[in-house]
């Protein structure tokens, strides 16, 4: 069973990557809408999936976080990706299944997955 002391090992492993991140300055942010509407539509499994896939891909300059209601409840779960040097990408009706491709193609490869974006949904 996992004990809290294992956190120390994670910290030590991350120590090596922190310096490179500070040099890069801007990190990518994945923001999941987690107001009542988002949670009801399944935002939490999406947040979990992003956390898992980002960790698995070894991306150290990506933060996965939440925000309140983005204002387009009919498109929830909504995920916004802020990548330095890129316009904001808004993914709609996200599911844990779609997350892997977003992580690989967008967060890792730098190319947004057009078919999952709000532009394609309208």
């Amino acid at each position: 069973m996992k004990s809290l002391q294992e956190l120390a090992a994670i910290r030590d492993k991350m120590r090596q990557t922190v310096s490179t991140r500070e040099a890069a300055h801007d990190s990518t942010r994945v923001v999941v809408g987690m107001a009542t509407c988002g949670i009801a539509a399944g935002a939490r499994p999406v947040l979990n999936a992003f956390t898992e896939e980002v960790a698995a891909a070894g991306l150290t300059d990506v933060l996965v976080t939440q925000t309140g209601c983005i204002g387009i409840c009919q498109y929830e779960p909504v995920v916004e990706v802020y990548m330095p040097g890129q316009a904001k990408t808004t993914y709609v009706k996200m599911t844990p299944d779609k997350v892997k491709r977003v992580v690989q193609q967008h967060l890792k490869g730098g190319n947004p997955v057009a078919e999952y974006t709000i532009g394609a949904a309208r």
Binding site: K2, Q5, L7, R11, R15, T36, V62, T65
Partner: protein, 182 residues
């Protein structure tokens, strides 16, 4: 159960520390959920109206369903919800549920709920205490931050993933106790 939604109220109230306590007592037949924060609290007028779905402090729309849903979920099982709040001190919401009642809502993924709160609000603290028939497990973000120091944040995916698995693995034996009893 809408625990995440209720705990988000505490975050929105600016609470530096939110305690989420879930106590399951099979012998007595009750499950108690408490969300206690030291946020800005509510005026007596607001506290009296807050289970009205058409009462909310937000500006974007006129409904607030978090507490009304929790109250309904508790009362549907023969339990109750109480709310204590003092301005500048904080708010404590307590909901009791009758175990084994046909209308008892499933707890849902509590590990993901607590881990998500810690991950998404790394500048706030959360203490989750799960007690089943007298046996407890505690996940305290303050302890985690002490271990991590300045070198890693709870918002890091690697750290967040560990926290979820840590809570999941340590809660499972306690929550499984229930299945043997019921």
């Amino acid at each position: 159960m809408n625990v995440l939604d209720i705990a988000q109220n505490s975050v929105a109230a600016g609470a530096p520390l939110t305690r989420i306590t879930l106590t399951i007592d099979h012998a007595a037949g009750w499950q108690t959920l408490t969300v206690a924060d030291n946020g800005k609290g509510m005026s007596p007028e607001l506290a009296a109206r807050v289970t009205d779905p058409f009462c909310t402090s937000r500006k974007s729309r006129k409904v607030g369903l978090g507490l009304p849903f929790l109250k309904m979920a508790a009362e549907m099982t023969g339990g109750a919800m109480t709310l204590e709040s003092a301005e500048g001190v904080g708010t404590t919401v307590t909901a009791t549920f009758r175990l084994g009642h046909i209308d008892l809502a499933p707890l849902g993924d509590m590990a993901a709920t607590i881990a998500g709160l810690m991950q998404c609000n790394p500048d706030k603290d959360f203490v989750y205490t799960l007690t089943v028939d007298g046996e407890s497990f505690v996940a305290d973000s303050r302890q985690m931050k002490q271990i991590l120091g300045d070198e890693a944040s709870l918002a890091e995916p690697q750290v967040a993933l560990f926290i979820r698995q840590f809570i999941e693995e340590n809660s499972a034996p306690l929550l499984n106790k229930g299945e043997e009893v019921l």
